[in-house]
């Protein structure tokens, strides 16, 4: 389980970083999304992996923390998901605005040869 998730994080991050370094803005957007998956999973994994132990408490009574998944990374990741959506939206708009103004979808607003 751990190994698989670790490799998955690696693949997502690697694909994300590769796209991040590409010249076309659409590639960068997709790259940021993939990177966001990787990073979200990474933060989530910091709480260790639990199967079938969602952090839903009984109403009252004794609580054994070891029986539940760590809720803190989950809370962090939850907001991170929403914020990464917001940044994707923002970047997308900057991208199409820049495309409208400069006539190219290169991240620098001009083709390399020019």
């Amino acid at each position: 389980m751990e190994l698989i998730l670790a490799i998955a994080i690696g693949i997502l991050t690697g694909s994300g970083v590769w796209l991040l370094l590409r010249p076309r803005s659409y590639q960068v957007i997709v790259g940021l999304c993939l990177l966001a998956y990787g990073v979200n999973l990474f933060i989530f994994a910091m709480g260790r992996l639990y199967v079938g132990a969602a952090p839903i408490m009984p109403k009252g009574g004794f609580v054994d923390p070891t029986a539940y998944a760590d809720p803190l990374p989950q809370a962090l990741v939850l907001t991170a998901i929403v914020i990464s959506f917001a940044t994707t939206a923002l970047f997308l708009v900057v991208m199409i605005a820049s495309r409208g103004i400069t006539g190219t979808d290169h991240v620098d607003g001009k083709e390399r040869s020019q």
């Binding site: 998730l5 998955a8 994080i9 659409y26 998956y37 199967v51 952090p55 609580v63 809370a75 917001a86």
Partner: protein, 958 residues
């Protein structure tokens, strides 16, 4: 305690009134005048109440707790000197406000003017009354800012914008120097309280850093008080409306510099360096200002240079620093404020009624407006220093100080001569003003036929001139006790003997005065024609135009040098920057984690995890595929990316994070829609980019691939290392234990978000709102690339077949789904506190529900039936969240403390009810608004670019 509170009120009232004034309707000139005038009257009333406590060396110190935990208090103090200055600010403020009522044109937006004037009065009060030297600098900069707004009041004029910018750059940079000086002083003294600083004079002057402190301090004071070589901003600030010039740029704000010099004289003064620099600069400014003023044809320009000159006089007195000089300085601050404010107002009246301020065109105005003319003549006589007027007395005291002070230096020996010469020029320009403007033949080519102004517009001038006369004739009765209290506040209780009288017998100052006066008359009368008709100032002065040097200097420092630095230091292009960032991140991770022990045991993979492995084989393939295809096959890449997202989502389900799974799934839908909408604006990529297969791009790609692989491997290693170690004690345990007991919810993730760490969530949703608005704002001016304007081919074909029939069945289903989706959103919302769900998830669901309607029918159809105001959703959301948070203050709890209980509702059963739920409602509303505004803003672009002409519409027209 009453007095302390009054002190606080003195600073706060103008700001509160400023906020009120800003909200009044544009045309409400009378209401504004009453509001502002009453505010000033309140201030004067408070000052009258406080006077007994500050007279004869008393002072009041009010300390108000502000941020106690970091030792920040608001300290205000008032003594005789501050009191006198406050009377100037409030008194002249009141007159200026009355004057502005009649000065401003019917088209000018007066709320902005009055609001700024009031804010200025508040900042000035804060500056004068600050008992903490850092706070003082804050108010100091605030006056610069408000001054900027006021100079730029007529922002459609280029000169107003330039003047405002110049004034801000000069005075605010001076303020920064002052801040550093204050920090150094605070460090040397060990306290930032003004009283401690004033007592520690010997400690500061003996400190090795004293020269640095002094220079920085003086830079602050000199820039504010327009001393040479920083004087150039003041004439350019004359682009402000005349009430502003009269209030800020002659009577009060520019005096802040000399106020500071006198205030800090006990702490920093008394040394030779102080004398040389302050007196030297003061005398240069005095002479230069008076000299240039003589050649100015613009009335306000002349008055501006005269102000510079008089500020130089006060600075020189502060530099001399003997008790008599300090008393003279305080006296002249008051006198100058009174006569110069009245002169500015008179100049404004002339401008207002005659339509020009050019002295070459104005002539014989005494016949048109006799009363205003007599008032202005008396005021300018006071400016020239004619006996029986207040200007005469303080000038005599200045001559006396310059004459009697001796320390043997060159500057000291030159001082009396410079003083007399400057006095002569001062008499000359005053004379020129009187003769050219009011006497001579009646001007015939003026833009308006001049006449007397409204009597209420003249009233402030009349009052100020009356004060000039009264002080000039009976100084001891009028100002004696106030001046004494102010002097005691600066110098301490042992004042030397001085007397405020008109006639001291024939002595040196009187002879100097007589010489200056007669010389002044000669200076003007002899080359009169040449001055009146000539260019503004002799060739030397035009060459030494600091104002003209300002713009190239600004260009150099804010454009050329930064650009050079950018060329030297920055990576070129986004790719290089991102690459540098990624490499730095990798290097950081390597150096931080490399030295640790990495004895990670190799984990076993057992058969139960086979499904999970299969899942991630798909996920990994999707991710790599997306990376591969994103360049030429955008749609495929989007689908593949969605695949990776789905696998991530499944992972969350598998690994006990239902909340994350729900949110991820919903956000996935929104992201995909968003990207689909955006893709339409990108260039077609159906052929290869030229040069893409050459050697160097291949090499670049190989290098990036290497970086990416290293990143991936590194992340795998780090994750594995963490995952295979036993966790220590987590903060999460505390949340698990206390979630139900203290938060009243069983879903710990949701309780963390809306209760324990609600303030963080508040920040998050604020970010979301900002992004939503930014998207909206960016797209308002969006212009697509020409080739994207054309409607996409599939859409055109679809329209030919009529969209309605093409998507008929799905559209009906989507419309039916509207209510169930809203119900689902409500369900997710209400169960959020106890079960997976919550505001974020519900908000995204609701937004998707709305979005589906847009997909199902065309935009116009939807918007004819649904009123969607995303900005209001967002506004409501953030207000609800903030109000819920602030509500706990009422009960004396910190921000965002929650209260909860379970309500028993018939039929439904026990329902959790907590204030956290209200907060979650805010989150919900904001998320709905933000997502809808982003998606709709992008979707609307198609409408704006290509107005829909449906075949059916076209047929109907035919």
């Amino acid at each position: 305690m009453v007095e302390q509170n009054l002190l606080l009120l003195l600073v706060l009232t103008p700001f509160i009134s400023a906020a009120l004034a800003a909200t009044l309707p544009v045309g409400s000139r009378n209401a504004e005048t009453w509001l502002a005038g009453l505010t000033m009257a309140v201030a004067l009333g408070i000052l009258a109440v406080l006077y007994p406590a500050v007279a004869e060396g008393g002072r009041i110190i009010g300390e108000f707790e502000w941020a106690d935990s970091i030792g920040l208090d608001l300290t205000f103090r008032i003594d005789g000197f501050a009191w006198l200055f406050m009377v100037l600010v409030a008194g002249i403020g009141m007159l200026v406000i009355l004057y502005a009522r009649y000065y401003m044109g019917p088209d000018d937006p007066v709320p902005r003017l009055y609001s700024c004037l009031l804010a200025f009065a508040g900042s000035m009060a804060g500056l004068i009354l600050s008992g903490n030297i850092i706070m003082l600098v804050v108010f100091w900069e605030l006056t610069s800012l408000v001054s900027f707004l006021l100079i730029g009041y007529w922002f459609h004029r280029q000169d107003a914008r330039d003047g405002a910018r110049m004034a801000l750059v000069v005075t605010a940079s001076g303020g920064l120097c002052l801040l550093v000086a204050m920090v150094l002083i605070g460090q040397i003294v060990g306290s930032y309280q003004l009283d401690d600083v004033l007592k520690a004079g010997t400690k500061i002057t003996a400190h090795p850093l004293y020269p640095v402190v002094l220079i920085l301090f003086l830079l602050g004071a000199f820039t504010k008080s327009a001393q040479f070589p920083f004087h150039f901003w003041l004439p350019n600030a004359m682009a402000a409306p005349t009430p502003v010039s009269s209030y800020l740029h002659s009577a009060t704000m520019v005096k802040a510099g000399v106020f500071l010099l006198l205030r800090f004289h006990p702490a920093l003064g008394g040394t030779d360096a102080w004398f040389q620099i302050v007196t030297g600069i003061g005398l240069i400014t005095l002479l230069l200002g008076a000299f240039v003023a003589l050649f100015k044809h613009d009335l306000k320009g002349m008055l501006a240079y005269s102000t510079i000159s008089h500020l130089g006089l006060i600075t020189a007195l502060a530099g001399i620093g003997t008790p008599l000089a300090v008393i003279a300085a305080v006296f002249h601050i008051v006198n100058h404020a009174v006569f110069k404010a009245s002169l500015f107002m008179a100049a404004g009246i002339i401008d207002h009624e005659a339509g020009t301020r050019d002295m070459r065109r104005l002539s014989g105005l005494a016949k048109f407006m006799p009363i205003t003319a007599s008032l202005a003549i008396i005021a300018s006589a006071a400016m020239a220093g004619v006996p029986l007027l207040n200007g005469f007395l303080s000038k005599e005291m200045f001559f006396d100080a310059a004459y009697t002070h001796h320390n043997g230096s060159l500057l000291d020996n030159a001082a009396p001569y410079i003083a007399v010469l400057a006095g002569a020029f001062s008499a000359a320009y005053s004379l020129r003003f009187i003769i050219t403007v009011f006497f001579g033949p009646k001007a015939t080519d003026l833009p308006h036929e001049p006449h007397e102004p409204h009597h209420l517009m003249r009233l402030p001038v009349g009052l100020l001139v009356a004060i000039c006369l009264a002080v000039g004739i009976a100084p001891q009765v009028m100002l004696g006790p106030w001046l004494e209290s102010a002097a005691i506040a600066i110098l301490g209780p042992d004042l030397p003997y001085y007397s405020l009288k008109i006639w001291h017998g024939v002595n040196a100052p009187l002879i100097m005065s007589i010489i200056a006066m007669s010389l002044g008359v000669l200076i003007y009368l002899l080359p009169r024609r040449w001055i009146d008709a000539g260019e503004e100032g002799p060739a030397l002065m035009r060459a030494l135009n600091f104002g003209a040097m300002f713009d190239p200097a600004l260009h150099l420092f804010t454009k050329r040098l930064p650009q050079a630095a950018l060329r030297l230091l920055s990576a070129h292009g986004l790719q290089a920057q991102l690459r540098a960032m990624v490499l730095m991140g990798m290097a950081g991770a390597y150096f931080a984690l490399g030295p640790l022990e990495w004895n990670v045991p190799m984990p076993e993979v057992n058969s139960r995890e086979l499904v999970f492995a299969l899942l991630w084989i798909v996920g990994g393939a999707c991710a790599i595929g997306a990376a591969w295809q994103a360049k030429y096959h955008r749609f495929a890449a989007l689908v593949l990316m969605g695949g990776a997202g789905m696998v991530t989502c499944a992972t969350f389900v598998w690994l006990s994070a239902p909340d994350l799974a729900v949110t991820q799934l919903l956000v996935e839908i929104a992201t995909t829609t968003l990207l689909l909408l955006g893709m339409r604006w990108l260039p077609k990529r159906d052929q290869e980019i030229p040069g893409d297969e050459k050697f160097s791009p291949r090499l670049r790609r190989f290098r990036d691939l290497l970086i990416a692989v290293f990143c991936g491997v590194g992340m795998t290693a780090i994750s594995l290392a963490v995952l295979l170690t036993k966790p220590g004690n987590s903060v999460g345990d505390w949340f698990l234990r206390h979630s139900y007991v203290e938060g009243g919810g069983t879903n710990v993730v949701n309780v963390i978000l809306v209760d324990f760490r609600a303030f963080d969530t508040f920040g998050e949703i604020a970010v979301l709102a900002i992004v939503g608005l930014t998207v909206y704002a960016l797209l308002r001016r969006f212009r697509p690339a020409p080739e994207s304007v054309e409607r996409p081919r599939p859409q055109l074909e679809a329209e030919e077949q009529a969209l309605e029939s093409y998507l008929f069945v799905p559209a009906v289903i989507m419309q039916w789904m509207f209510a169930p989706i809203i119900a689902l959103a409500a369900y997710l919302f209400f169960r959020g506190h106890d079960l997976p769900g919550g505001g974020f998830a519900a908000g995204v669901t609701f937004a998707i529900g709305l979005l589906l309607q847009y997909v199902a029918a065309n935009v116009r159809w939807v918007e004819a039936r649904l009123t969607i105001l995303p900005v209001r959703w967002m506004g409501a959301g953030i207000c609800i969240a903030a109000a819920t948070g602030a509500g706990s203050w009422i009960f004396g709890m910190p921000f965002l403390t929650t209260h909860y209980q379970y309500l028993d509702i018939p039929m439904i059963g026990k329902v959790p009810a907590s204030t956290a739920m209200l907060f979650d409602l805010g989150v919900f509303s904001l998320v709905v608004g933000a997502i809808v505004i982003m998606l709709i803003a992008i979707a609307h672009q198609s409408l704006r670019v290509a107005p829909r002409t449906r075949p059916s519409d076209a047929e109907e027209k035919e």
